[in-house]
């Protein structure tokens, strides 16, 4: 479905967006898409790697349609996927609140939230299917919050002036995942899906230029095996753990999409990484992860720091007129519900000015005193009780009495493998869904939109697009081909070279150092000199990893040290690509904030003339620089304006 302009040195990627008015494109696509007849569907076999929200919903839906599916995850159960940890909610343009919401408004909020760096037609389609996701989840028995009337309740999230977020206390992700996992379990129980847990995908296999299978390692036995299919779907999540400290689960990694990149799938906008404003601030060097405190807390919590720098008084001793509620001051129209990139940068600014709070001075207050006084403890407890107790377990303070301390942390990656309107990568037959692709969030994702996108892709968008592919691909039968044997040999050689690492430094220490380099150079704010410095340091780190890392144990049994080493090696390579992408994008947009490009008021300054495009990187070999291609972003409906939340 992709056409390339192979004449020019720089390829121009085409997203293959259907023609017609924006609000009719998806309907027209579905009307024109090729179908596979019910009896022929059984003859097609698809592989789904990753069984979080996107992967489980896709696998279940494809199996319901009659396709044979094989699913793979590195966890012991699909229910452990990191989708489970999403707290706050899922957006949908239902307008149940009668507050002026519509498909068009959700579309517009998402495009603007992404700082006009996403593909218009994809975002419109996402908004269009959002309502059906809620219907589907309710039918599965997802226990969404309800009003006393018995109808569905909503709350607000950042970057929106309507209440369109559906939620299950502070565990929306877990409940939606259990719904998708239930649908998947039904198909596994019926024998229509073969589930492979504790398997890690280590390579994809191309035959005749099309994705025809994968190579996996059984994490319990070390067995390397090939799996053949007619199409491969990657639903393997994001790469925030490249920063070492992030809100992601320990196991989240880039390996599947990185290996696909090295087989020819383009990697789009790797520098678009979201730093979430409300996380528990970092503690000591030993720390292994940062814990998210849901953005929903900003419905009732007020963010502030002392007006005076160096003011170390406890919060209750700082009088009202000596506090700076900086989000309310700077962004009065959205206040504490300013979008994530803006809220994070503002928190960094006040800390850089010496007004940060807590023992390290890296933190701002999130204060519930006013909400508690106005609404009472029981209302606040019913909304955020589990988050308050989680905070108390970690920090030891009681948020009902003392304001929380929060600080931004890496949380989500908008970048990912490039896909066209069909969610197909530049490798025919390789589809990428959920956080693993780059498609819908531009340079910044709005809160409660990740769950929406994962389920939109899996339940409603991928099934018709993959059918369209399978109906027209004319695939020949493959099994035992040379391509599979070669891939297995490559994977085995990689594993053996990791097992030979016998130096003096732990794999974790390399990961920590990489994270530190990236957080400084490619985190909340970026500069040309900082990025150049990182681009010199990361290759040196990669070399030292090869010379001085230590991996224990052998390859024929459960070996977590080996698993981690492979993932960290991939992260080091990805980190370099992120910095390269951030360096070449000489503008500020959304989460990508280059200090050289800002407005007089210090906000992100885009350069639409030069950078209104997706940057998609093509791997060119181990010692060759990757090629940067562009997909022009054409906006038919939306006016490109300075993004303002004032």
């Amino acid at each position: 479905m992709i056409q390339y302009d192979t004449q020019s040195a720089k390829q121009t990627l085409d997203g293959a967006v259907p023609s017609g008015p924006l609000d009719e494109k998806w309907d027209r696509y579905q009307a024109d898409a090729k179908l596979v007849s019910p009896t022929n569907k059984r003859g097609f076999h698809v592989i789904v790697v990753g069984t979080g929200l996107a992967g489980a919903s896709a696998a279940a839906t494809l199996a319901e349609l009659g396709y044979q599916a094989s699913t793979f995850c590195f966890h012991d159960s699909p229910r452990r996927a990191h989708s489970v940890a999403a707290q706050g909610g899922i957006n949908a343009a239902k307008n149940y609140q009668n507050d002026g919401d519509s498909v068009h408004r959700l579309f517009h909020d998402t495009i603007k939230g992404g700082d006009f760096r996403s593909r218009e037609a994809n975002v419109y389609r996402l908004a269009q299917v959002s309502g059906r996701i809620i219907d589907q989840c309710v039918a599965q028995g997802v226990p969404f919050a309800r009003e006393y009337s018995g109808y569905l309740a909503n709350r607000s999230f950042g970057g929106a002036q309507v209440s369109r977020t559906f939620y299950c206390r502070g565990q929306t992700g877990q409940q939606l995942l259990l719904g998708a996992y239930g649908a998947l379990n039904r198909q596994i129980g019926a024998g229509r899906v073969k589930m492979h847990t504790r398997h890690e995908m280590l390579d994809i296999v191309l035959v005749d230029g099309r994705a025809r299978g994968i190579v996996t390692r059984n994490l319990l036995t070390g067995e390397i095996a090939s799996h053949v299919a007619d199409a491969v779907i990657l639903a393997t999540g994001g790469y925030s753990n490249v920063f070492y400290l992030s809100t992601n689960a320990s196991g989240c990694n880039t390996t599947a999409i990185w290996r696909a990149y090295k087989r020819g799938a383009y990697f789009a906008n790797p520098c678009y990484t979201q730093i979430h404003p409300t996380c528990i601030p970092p503690g000591g060097e030993y720390q292994a992860k940062l814990t998210l405190m849901s953005e929903s807390l900003r419905n009732d919590g007020r963010v502030w720091v002392p007006q005076r720098s160096g003011d170390r008084r406890p919060p209750q001793d700082i009088p009202e007129d000596e506090r700076d509620y900086f989000l309310e001051r700077k962004y009065p129209a959205f206040g504490n519900l300013a979008p994530r990139d803006i809220a994070s940068r503002s928190a960094k600014e006040v800390c850089d000015e010496g007004r940060g709070v807590g023992p390290s001075g890296v933190g701002v207050f999130l204060d519930f005193a006013q909400a508690l006084a106005e609404r009472g403890r029981s209302v606040i407890a019913s909304r955020y009780g589990n988050l308050f107790s989680m905070y108390q377990q970690i920090i030891g303070d009681d948020p009902y009495k003392v304001p929380m301390r929060i600080y931004p942390a890496p949380h989500y990656t908008m970048g990912g493998l490039w896909v066209d309107y069909d969610l197909m990568s530049t490798i025919p037959g390789l589809f990428v869904i959920g956080e693993a692709n780059f498609s819908d969030h531009g340079a910044n994702r709005l809160g409660a939109s990740a769950l929406m996108q994962g389920l939109a892709d899996g339940y409603f968008i991928l099934p018709p697009t993959i059918s369209n592919y399978l109906a027209s691909a004319k695939l020949r039968s493959v099994s035992g081909n040379r391509e599979f044997r070669d891939a297995e040999l490559r994977v085995n050689a990689d594993i053996q070279s990791l097992l030979r690492l016998n130096g003096k430094r732990s794999v974790e220490s390399f990961h920590r150092e990489l994270g530190h380099i990236l957080w400084e150079a490619c985190g909340m704010s970026r500069t040309r000199s900082g990025l150049l410095d990182a681009l010199a340091r990361i290759p040196a780190l990669r070399q030292e990893f090869r010379d001085n890392a230590v991996v224990s144990g052998d390859g024929n049994a459960l070996n977590m040290s080996l698993e981690r080493a492979g993932r960290v090696a991939d992260f080091i390579e990805l980190g370099e690509l992120m910095c390269r992408d951030a360096l070449d994008r000489e503008e500020s947009c959304g989460c990508h904030f280059r200090e050289e490009y800002r407005t007089a008021e210090g906000e992100a300054r885009r350069n639409d003339d030069a950078f209104c495009h997706v940057a998609a990187w093509q791997y060119q070999g181990k010692d060759t620089e990757p090629a940067r291609h562009q997909e022009k972003l054409a906006f038919e409906e939306v006016q490109l304006v300075e993004r303002s939340y004032k």
């Binding site: 996992y181 689960a249 998210l292 430094r505 459960l558």
Partner: protein, 248 residues
Amino acid sequence: MNLKLYVWRQAGRDDTGHFETYDARDISPDMSFLEMLDHVNEQLAVSEREPIAFEFDCREGICGTCSLVINGIPHGPEKATTTCQTYMRSFRDGDDIHIEPFRAQPFPVIKDLVVDRSAFDRILQAGGFVSVNTGNAPDGNAEAVAKSLAEDALDSAACIGCGACVAACPNASASLFTAAKVSHLAGLPQGRAERKHRARKMVAAMDEERFGSCTNHGECEAVCPMEISTRFISRMNREYLQSTLLPT
């Protein structure tokens, strides 16, 4: 703080296993329990000894992966808290800490502190869902669901599938886990149509996996990080009884 750890090491399923002793030195009370073990493992790795295998993922108490018995209690000393959310401030300098896997016949040890809990998945595959295909659903607000019913459903749906209930039960019963899912779906209008079938299938799957019976010890509720109530077991028993006495 300095601590002495007695850690269960077991090379594989067929190995008999044994305790090994390790010193955990310079531990900060602000470390999580798993960060303390990371610290010990990093020392082991650089001294070329095999690190302790233990599982974890989200480290925020929701994925249900972490699974340690700490001083005899699944998930350790803090109430309503997973292992990953247990902090070293719960211990004192000089303490001895015994660390074991979740033990139960249906949860065979894979290595050290890692066990196989796939029996839980198989129970759910037998019927822990609503049989609704994608695209079938009516509007989400087509049917009102009393707030109390939705809240009650979420109280049981909150189960994170960690298996502490099984590890704590003298009978290694999976009743609380199974009951949580049966109750979640039986309590909602969307799950009603299949409730009898579901209860029968899931209870049969639980027995097939050789989990023990419930004899009302209540240890499961006491260690459950999500505080799932044993009243759901009564509910499951009612559902099961109805499904066998009045099968249609």
